[in-house]
Each structure stands twice: as structure tokens, then as C-alpha cells.
């Protein structure tokens, strides 16, 4: 049997088992695990415990970041810091909607741009921005869409864009010349998104807002709020400014140290054990998803299914590739997350380079599109995280529909950057 036939059959079995598992009301995580195991069995590798364990560890670092960052924000919230900041922002800027929206977009762009992770944006500033937006009369579903889309753009924004960095490394290209090609579309698209989804709303009724908002503890002040963020920012800054004399602590420990600062500076007593338990309970579905996605990807790689999808994608005619970038990149992200960069990004950049396009601009355009896939199942990690953090209780499909218009604009801009990359080469400054 040819490799193509075998991989196609295995893929068919995995899809069938996933559908059957969902029919029998298994959770998405267990359905993915069942699909992965069925793929392994069909591929003749049986249980493959090593690969299950290795796949399950793939996103361990990301899980640790989620847990530590959420714990930080939950402590800050319990300390009354979030309520204090929201009240202050509303009081200062409630009259000028444009300024308010632009500031909030900026607030969402910074954490992801610095760390390369949209999840960090959602966890650090997403919740805070969501509360402010809700008092601007914007529906929860639109708020979730705003936070998700801009969090994705923040991850693509410079200085750290993991998709661009990993793809560049895969084609032996220095990560140089990407700053403006990434910064300009990310800022413009973030503003476009927040104005499209956030323009319509009510004028803020300050009295009503203040009455509805939980009160901030009397002793809460800016110093108590800002210092934990400064601790985090200082640790990031130290690592950047003096990378070779500063110990590498990693993002999870940075968030934990910020959480410790928030705990120590809290004007009210914090029940740390209870908050820790609640944080884990809150994130357990997400952690489960990431773990099972890792196993699924590992089994797809083991059995050749990943190769089948990758080779099918990259051997399409160039015109078709251009036409389907907006589908191909988000789907690859949905299945492989950052793994999409080496699997799909590398061959595509080589293909674009071969036909005379500018690889830096083309890769920047692709990097802008990729994060859209973080809302699409089977992973939907950032999408689900955003819905959770914002507190949107409606159907996930409604959230996806709300993301559609800004998502299509982003896909269009990204694709245009790829197609016209040769003319936009001046942006690289090289």
C-alpha cells in the first residue's frame, strides 16, 4: 500500500473515531485522545506509551505559563486591584471614546509583543480591558472577539514573533528586518478591530458603572497595583537588557514572582490556597486540551498523517496557495499551534522565495494570519481562554462569528502582504 493511501486511511479512522466519541458525549479532550490512540493502532504502533507521554509534554511550558499568569491575575483581582484600576480608567477617560479605545488596544498589544504569546495578553491585560469595555456598552461576545483578535496580533507583533522566528530559523534566515513589516500591520489591524467591534456602544454612565463595579478596598492604591506589574516588567527588562548576566527564570516564575508581589501588597487578606485551587479548576479544561492536542499531533507525526496534510498543502499550485492562505494558515495553527511554523511555514517561505517574492515581508504577512487559528478547534486554546477570561457564557460559535469580519480583514491584509511582498521589501530596511 502506498504511503498516501495508508496515511489517508489512518486519517479517516482518526476522524471517524473523533466523531463517534463526540456522539457518545465524550469531552473534546477525550475524543482527541481516542482519535490519537486509534491512529496509533491503525498505524501499527499500538499503544505507543513513549509517544503518548512525549506528546502530552509538548505544551508543558505553555501550561505552566497559563497557570502562573492566571494565578497572578486572580490574586490581583482578589486584592481589589482590578476593581481599582477599572474605576480609575473610567473616571479619567470616560468622556473620550476614541482615546479610550486606542489606549485599550495598546494595552492589549504590549504583553504579547514582548513575550510572543497571545495567551499572556489575554491573561495579563485581557480581563482588565474586558471590564472597561463592558462599561462602554459593548456586548460580552464582542469584547471576547476584541481581546482574542488583538491578543493574536500582539503575539505576531515585534519584537518577539514566534512564528516568524521559528520559520526564519528553519530557512537559515536571520530574524532581522521584521520589525516594521510586523509592527505596522499589527497596530493598524488592532485599531481597525477595536473600532469595528467597539465603536457602537453606550456612552459611559459613570454613576451606574461605579455602582455596579465591586468596590476597591480602601487602602488600595496605584503603588499596590503597579508594583506586581513592575516586578514582571523588570524581570523581562533585565533579561533583555543584561541577557548574559541575568539568570534565566522563565515566564512561569516571572508570573509567580509578580503574584507574590501582589499577594504581599494586598490590602486585604488573600486566601492563597483557595485561589490556587480555583485557578487550577478554572484552567483544567484548557490544560487537558493542550495535553491531548500534543498527543494527537505526536500520533499524526508518527503515522504520517501530519506529513500527508503538510505535503498536500504545500504542493498546491501557487495561485491556489495565495487564495487559500487565509484557510491554510489558521487551520495549520489550529492543529499544530506553533508547530505550524516549521511544518507549513518553512516550505511556503521557500516556495515564495523561489518565485521571487520577498521572504521577510511574506513571512510577516503569514505571521499576522496564523494567530487567527488559535480560535479554531481542535485546539482553540486562546479562543477558549479568552471566552473564559472575559466571562462570555454564550455559544462558542457565536464568538467565532463575531470574530469573522476583523478576521477576514486580517487574512486579506496578510495575504496582500505575501502577494505584493516584492514591492513592500523597503519596509525591511535591508
Amino acid at each position: 500500500m502506498s504511503m498516501t493511501a495508508a496515511a489517508t486511511i489512518i486519517l479517516g479512522i482518526m476522524v471517524a473515531i473523533y466523531i463517534i466519541a463526540k456522539y457518545f458525549k465524550l469531552s473534546t479532550e477525550l475524543a482527541m485522545l481516542a482519535a490519537a490512540l486509534s491512529g496509533s493502532m491503525a498505524g501499527g504502533t499500538w499503544l505507543a506509551p513513549r509517544h503518548i507521554a512525549e506528546g502530552a509534554s509538548t505544551y508543558l511550558d505553555i501550561n505552566l505559563i497559563f497557570i502562573s499568569a492566571t494565578l497572578f491575575m486572580n490574586i490581583l483581582k482578589a486584592a481589589g486591584g482590578v476593581a481599582f484600576v477599572v474605576r480609575a480608567i473610567l473616571k479619567r477617560f470616560h468622556k473620550t471614546r476614541i482615546t479610550m479605545l486606542m489606549l485599550l488596544a495598546l494595552l492589549l498589544l504590549v504583553p504579547g509583543a514582548l513575550t510572543g504569546a497571545g495567551s499572556v495578553t489575554v491573561l495579563i491585560t485581557g480581563g482588565l480591558v474586558a471590564v472597561v469595555l463592558s462599561f462602554m456598552g459593548i456586548t460580552k461576545v464582542r469584547i471576547a472577539a476584541i481581546v482574542f483578535i488583538i491578543a493574536g496580533l500582539s503575539a505576531a507583533a515585534p519584537p518577539v514573533s514566534l512564528w516568524a522566528m521559528m520559520t526564519a530559523a528553519g530557512v537559515n534566515m536571520p530574524y532581522v528586518g521584521f520589525f516594521l513589516p510586523l509592527l505596522i500591520p499589527c497596530i493598524l489591524l488592532a485599531l481597525t478591530t477595536i473600532f469595528i467591534l467597539g465603536w457602537k456602544g453606550e456612552r459611559i454612565n459613570l454613576e451606574k458603572a461605579f455602582a455596579e463595579l465591586p468596590p476597591a478596598p480602601e487602602k488600595m492604591n496605584w503603588i499596590r497595583v503597579i508594583i506586581p506589574f513592575l516586578v514582571f516588567g523588570f524581570l523581562v527588562f533585565m533579561g533583555r537588557q543584561w541577557p548574559h548576566t541575568t539568570p534565566i527564570v522563565g515566564l512561569p516564575l516571572m508570573f509567580l514572582l509578580a503574584a507574590l508581589a501582589a499577594y504581599l501588597l494586598s490590602p486585604v487578606k488573600i486566601e492563597i490556597y483557595k485561589i490556587s485551587r480555583e485557578t487550577i479548576k478554572q484552567l483544567l479544561p484548557l490544560i487537558g486540551t493542550l495535553t491531548c492536542v500534543g498527543i494527537l499531533v505526536q500520533m499524526m507525526t508518527l503515522t504520517g498523517v501530519r506529513g500527508l496534510l503538510a505535503v498536500t498543502a504545500v504542493t498546491l499550485p501557487v495561485v491556489v496557495v495565495f487564495g487559500f492562505l487565509w484557510v491554510l494558515l489558521p487551520i495549520s495553527e489550529a492543529v499544530l499551534m506553533y508547530g505550524a511554523a516549521p511544518v507549513i511555514g518553512v516550505p511556503l517561505v521557500l516556495l515564495f522565495n523561489n518565485i521571487g517574492l520577498d521572504p521577510i515581508i511574506a513571512l510577516a504577512g503569514m505571521s499576522v494570519i496564523w494567530p487567527l487559528g488559535d480560535a479554531i478547534p481542535p485546539t482553540a486554546i486562546i479562543g477558549r481562554l479568552t471566552v473564559d477570561v472575559v466571562g462570555f457564557k454564550g455559544s462558542y460559535g457565536t464568538f467565532l462569528k463575531t470574530c469573522l469580519v476583523p478576521g477576514l480583514i486580517i487574512a486579506l491584509v496578510g495575504t496582500a502582504m505575501v502577494v505584493f511582498s516584492a514591492r513592500l521589501g523597503f519596509l525591511t530596511g535591508l
Binding site: 506509551p49 512525549e54 506528546g55 518577539v160 532581522v176 548574559h244 534565566i248 507525526t301 506529513g307
Partner: protein, 382 residues
């Protein structure tokens, strides 16, 4: 509900025990090295820099000294242990080589940490076996990056020293992105620093860093040369088709791309630095089933399909790229480099006997040149 929990717990426990056993066995697999007639000494990398002594990256350095005047050449195998032909080509020198002029130093596991782990989501086999007449020799399959068990966590961005160039965060564990290393850096950076110390102290004249690359990577089947090695690399590239029967291109080491051996060793020592790349379809993102067989034969229908679509930088057909072919390319290229070096610099010759060349490795297979540790008195383990 209880039954469901019990079933899931039992499943988890099974995976934990069987998976854990596999990881432990992989990390502690002893790879035999039968010392050949030319090995005059074996030292540790830590002998040159205390900062790496006793660590997992304190690898063996095999010295083949002719006792006759000449240059000193360093062969780096295992910079990226997911590229097995690079390690095995170096192995053939240790088990078979006899220097007649000059001196050779060989590392089989330049980044030993990376040889004890496989790539997350890569589904690599933990090991592979090279068949021999007396049985088989088992080797660890490794990763491109040092094991997180030895170096963790990663920073949110890797800033290379001393250039300050920003690289993907995982590359702080990439041995061939950490040159020239740092004395007080991570274990990967310290390993690079230790090698630099060794290169300087042993007055190494020529360094060859052996690699394999996916076929969709533009730097493939080539010699990447520091500017001081351009003449030598060009000479070798010209000689190989006639003398050995295969082509290897020649490329200049980009000055703006930092952390790589071909750039930094040349910049931070007196040695001429070259990097050899052979094709390894196993590394291609479009590869099909991830198996030991594919690793060894390099046969892959999907990679062939990618090639037909013009996405590859090296040819591939249904015959694939067998590991014997990849190893033979490396051994011949090294031997040809030594001969070319001697022609260019006759006062500092390099000459080695006993190591099979390209045609011989293909004809007799790699296993023919690996000796039986059970019947040998001089055996070490990697």
C-alpha cells in the same frame, strides 16, 4: 463515575510506567566505541574547561596522533544528534582511522545532552540499530536541542552572545547557535565555550562540523566555509565529483548570521572552520511515517512528492537517501579535505588511513566498519 476514573487512572499509570522506562532507557543507553588502532588518547572536554567537567556535556574526545609533524584537525560529530550520519561518520574515524601525518581530535557527542532526548511532537524513535556481520550496534536517536532535563527554562527570547542577535527562544539549547559560547552561560553555551578553549589550547588548525539537513533546507549537500576556509572548501568541492563520485557545493558563511560554528570558530580562534551538510529526508516536515526504517533508508513518498513540486534543494527519488550514502559522503569529504589541505599547506600535512570512503561504505555498508565490542579489549561508551 468511579469506574471511569479508575480506567483513566490505570491508563495514565500504564503510560507513566512504560513511557518512563522508555525515556530512562534512552537517556542511559550506552553506545559502545571500539577504539581503533589510531586512537592514542581519550580525554574529556572538561579537561579544557572546569565549567563543563562532570556534566552531561562533558563528552569524550578521541585523539588520533600520528606522532609525525602536521596540522591538527577537529571533527565534530553530534552537534545535532537528530542527524545520525554526522555522529556515525565520526565513529568510523575513531574505530578505523590511523593518522600518518598530523593529529585528529574527534567528538562523537558534541552536544551529549541533546543525544539523550527526542523532539517533542516529532515522534522520533528513541534509538536505531546498524546491522553488522556479528549482530548489531544500537545508537541513541537525539534531538536538535539540549534536553530540557539539563537546561530549563528557556528565556522568552534568546539573545546570542556576544553579537546580541535575537534568535528563537529554543535556540538557546541549540549547540550550533551558541558558538563561541560563554564561560558562565547555559550548559549548551558552556559546552561551546569548552570546545573553543580546547581549539585554542590544542592549537587546532581545521574544524569540520558534521551535519545533516532536511531536503527543503537551502543549505544542503554543501560545505559552508568561513572566509579563511574559502580556498580549501572550493578546492574540495571541485575535487569531490571526480575523485569520489558525488557533488558538494560550497557556500560562504554569512557574516550576519551568528552562533554557528562556521562563523564563530573562525572569528574567535585561529582555526579554519567548515560545516558539512548531507541530506536527511527524515528531518523534512513533509515526511510520512516516522520510523527507524525511514531514518536509515531515507525513503519517503511524501518527500519525493515535495521534490516533484520543486520545493526541495536536493534531488530525491524512490531510492531515498540511505544512511550509508550519507555517512560515505561525510567520510570522503573529510578525507578529501585533509588531502586538499595538505596540497595547499604541505608544511602542515594531514593524512589518515583505514577510513572507508564513499564508494566503500556504500558497497560494504556502515556495519562492516563497526567492530564487535564483545571481542575487543579497548571499548569506551558514549
Amino acid at each position: 463515575m468511579l469506574l471511569r476514573k479508575l480506567i483513566i487512572s490505570a491508563f495514565g499509570l500504564t503510560v507513566l510506567i512504560l513511557g518512563g522506562h522508555s525515556f530512562y532507557s534512552h537517556r542511559h543507553l550506552k553506545e559502545a566505541v571500539v577504539l581503533g588502532p589510531g586512537v592514542t588518547d581519550v580525554v574529556k572536554l572538561g579537561d579544557y574547561f572546569d565549567g563543563i567537567a562532570g556534566s552531561i556535556n562533558d563528552c569524550n574526545l578521541y585523539i588520533l596522533d600520528s606522532g609525525n609533524p602536521g596540522a591538527t584537525i577537529l571533527i565534530l560529530g553530534g552537534s545535532h544528534p537528530e542527524e545520525p550520519a554526522s555522529r556515525l561518520a565520526a565513529w568510523l574515524f575513531v574505530e578505523n582511522g590511523l593518522m600518518t601525518e598530523g593529529r585528529m581530535i574527534v567528538a562523537l557527542s558534541a552536544n551529549r545532552s541533546a543525544s539523550t532526548v527526542t523532539r517533542l511532537s516529532g515522534a522520533y524513535p528513541s534509538d536505531f540499530t546498524i546491522l553488522t556481520k556479528w549482530g548489531g550496534r544500537k545508537f541513541r536517536m537525539g534531538d536538535r536541542w539540549s534536553s530540557p532535563l539539563d537546561q530549563w527554562p528557556d528565556p522568552e527570547v534568546y539573545i546570542h552572545s556576544p553579537s546580541g542577535q535575537e534568535l528563537a527562544y529554543v535556540d538557546i539549547r541549540n549547540f550550533n547557535r551558541c558558538w563561541p559560547g560563554r564561560a558562565n552561560g547555559t550548559i549548551t553555551e558552556r559546552a561551546c565555550f569548552a570546545f573553543m578553549e580546547m581549539i585554542r589550547k590544542e592549537k587546532v588548525d581545521l574544524v569540520i562540523d558534521l551535519h545533516e539537513a532536511e531536503l527543503q533546507y537551502p543549505v544542503i549537500s554543501t560545505i559552508v566555509a568561513h572566509e579563511r576556509g574559502e580556498e580549501l572548501a572550493t578546492f574540495v568541492s571541485m575535487m569531490l565529483p571526480d575523485m569520489e563520485g558525488f557533488n558538494m557545493g560550497m557556500e560562504f558563511s554569512p557574516k550576519a548570521l551568528h552562533g554557528l560554528s562556521h562563523r564563530e570558530i573562525g572569528d574567535f580562534s585561529d582555526a579554519v572552520s567548515l560545516l558539512f551538510e548531507a541530506p536527511e529526508p527524515f528531518l523534512d516536515a513533509t515526511r510520512g511515517r516516522t520510523t527507524r526504517e525511514q531514518l536509515l533508508t531515507g525513503i519517503d513518498e511524501f518527500v519525493v512528492k515535495a521534490g516533484k513540486a520543486g520545493l526541495l534543494f536536493e534531488k530525491i527519488d524512490e531510492k531515498g537517501w540511505h544512511i550509508d550514502v550519507r555517512i560515505g559522503r561525510h567520510t570522503s569529504a573529510i578525507l578529501q579535505t585533509m588531502e586538499s589541505w595538505t596540497e595547499i599547506m604541505p608544511d602542515r600535512p594531514l593524512s589518515c588511513e583505514g577510513v572507508p570512503r564513499y564508494a566503500e561504505v556504500i558497497e560494504n555498508s556502515t556495519g562492516h566498519y563497526l567492530h564487535n565490542p564483545a571481542t575487543s579489549s579497548k571499548v569506551l561508551y558514549e
